[in-house]
Symmetry: C2
Subunit: 359 residues, 2 copies
Amino acid sequence: MSAPFQVVASAGRARAGLLQTAHGVVETPVFMPVGTQATVKALSSADLTRLGARIILGNTYHLALRPGAERIASFGGLHRFMSWPNAILTDSGGYQVFSLRDRRTVDDAGVTFRSHLDGSEQRLTPERAMAIQTALASDIAMAFDECPPSDAPREVIEAAISRTTRWARACVDAPAPPGQLRFGIVQGGVHLDLRRAHLAEIAALPFDGLALGGLGVGEAPDVMYGVIDAVAADMPADRPRYLMGVGTPKDIWTAIGAGVDMFDCVMPTRNARNGHLFVRGGHINIANAQFRDDPRPVEDGCPCECCASYSRGYLAHLFRAEELLYYRLASIHNLEHYLGLARRARAAIVAGAFPASPW
Amino acid sequence: MSAPFQVVASAGRARAGLLQTAHGVVETPVFMPVGTQATVKALSSADLTRLGARIILGNTYHLALRPGAERIASFGGLHRFMSWPNAILTDSGGYQVFSLRDRRTVDDAGVTFRSHLDGSEQRLTPERAMAIQTALASDIAMAFDECPPSDAPREVIEAAISRTTRWARACVDAPAPPGQLRFGIVQGGVHLDLRRAHLAEIAALPFDGLALGGLGVGEAPDVMYGVIDAVAADMPADRPRYLMGVGTPKDIWTAIGAGVDMFDCVMPTRNARNGHLFVRGGHINIANAQFRDDPRPVEDGCPCECCASYSRGYLAHLFRAEELLYYRLASIHNLEHYLGLARRARAAIVAGAFPASPW
């Protein structure tokens, strides 16, 4: 079997690649919209297809609690359940359960936590995280990792790293459904020596791709950029590199320049719902009174359904009236901004030059 | 100028017609989705076009308060503001302001009321209602009427009728934008003699269509059917007949059989948001636990986007998770049910036989 990932062009350290999944080829760099609860909030699968999304992310933690991984399996897997024909990457639930700071206890075999929905006791282990992702039948499954807080003492991060490596081995050994790719996660906070040591351990395992976890969790952007710049250069060139949960358009562009291939973030959809709409080089806040009388689209020249048909004034009205249509149109626009950013990056790399700024 | 309405077929008292508006020809019988605040809740104009809607309703009361009729006019009218290329009927605000029972006072010239948004004092008169509908640039404007409660004493209804007739004359005399049709409203509660007397007064005015108001406001269905059956027969055959704000699929089918041509109701969209999904001859409540494991579409054979791609199980999950996509998919399905009902009625009438039940 040929390797699932191929670099087809590069410009400096930025790469353009092709990632073969069981549900189609994904062109990288790629942004993956976040579909936490088997839906990218406010959008249908047809909306995502119209936006040109070819891979989305699903959340193991949320889906396992509701509607339940076994229920999704009974519907034929997550693709069929949510009527999404393209690729899906699932996270392992690690990030979410470690975010439940006072509702979870960690031991060497896994994490016991209380559901945010009903308070019921639940347990996630490397084996269970992979079994859930097998039931969901995602195209890319992430290893179960320990994600310490950004301000954790070095000893805590060292302990998390060694536990994450042991769990990564358990994930590699867990049964995989045919065609599912598995990615390992590199932790280490902002300590470059720990990041490099952990990368060596994870890269030694037979993962199809490698991710940087535990970034964009409160550290200053320049500190994060420094870690990405240093660590991405050491990540194996023949496997896709995924920066988890990051970030702003600038964060993503900078990371692409450092050689990262894959991204996900709730920012475009969450910010959309709060009135924050991305435009080239910045954003507008649709709650501002001036936009009530503005006949222009959110962004001139934007090809999205929102900008093609609706004005800032109309969106400002829908936002104030809390009309459901607002959330959909705003999410479409912000996702177009992120997906377009990745497409623009790829086109620049293929053309042989990756500029310092997308605009 | 030729008459804007033509009856092209009939079956018993049921009629199939063509209503010419400034934004296209509307085939009747027709159901008009309700777009209260310049959006049919949860749906875009493209969604409505895909559903085959050719005319929707806008609410003068809501639009005048927010974003304001003059603001909509500055965007080129309601069609442009909400990016809707087909026909729009606007109500006059009468029903809404009379629903504000303890927030309004009536005099012979109009109604003074407090906004439900900010408590500010507002006033609506026949002249202002028509001026607002002119600013909105709707294709069909409704006369400003007094709509008494269904349980009002006969004297109150008599007084409302005579005020509504005076106001109707003022509406007819108000300036109209080119191409806008104007419909009068017949009141009279459930008193057939009052309904007939008021119909004679309103029908004598040069309205392009006539509506029955004040039905479906709490009276028993059979009482309502009796009024519709008796009064529709007396309404001028050469003008469209519009039953305002009614009702269930059975109500609509029954009224079509009595010769009514046009309908609007919030029921399909409001019920959708509450979990009530229409199916042939009844409904299902998606909140019921059984649907969590049901792989079937909401309704077998339904051509809507919801039924074409998604299962009851997926909708049940979205509903429980309060995901925004639920509201859109459910609204699409329920509107397909109502729009399909009207299309089915028209096809039956054109074929020469209108059955007692659609199924």
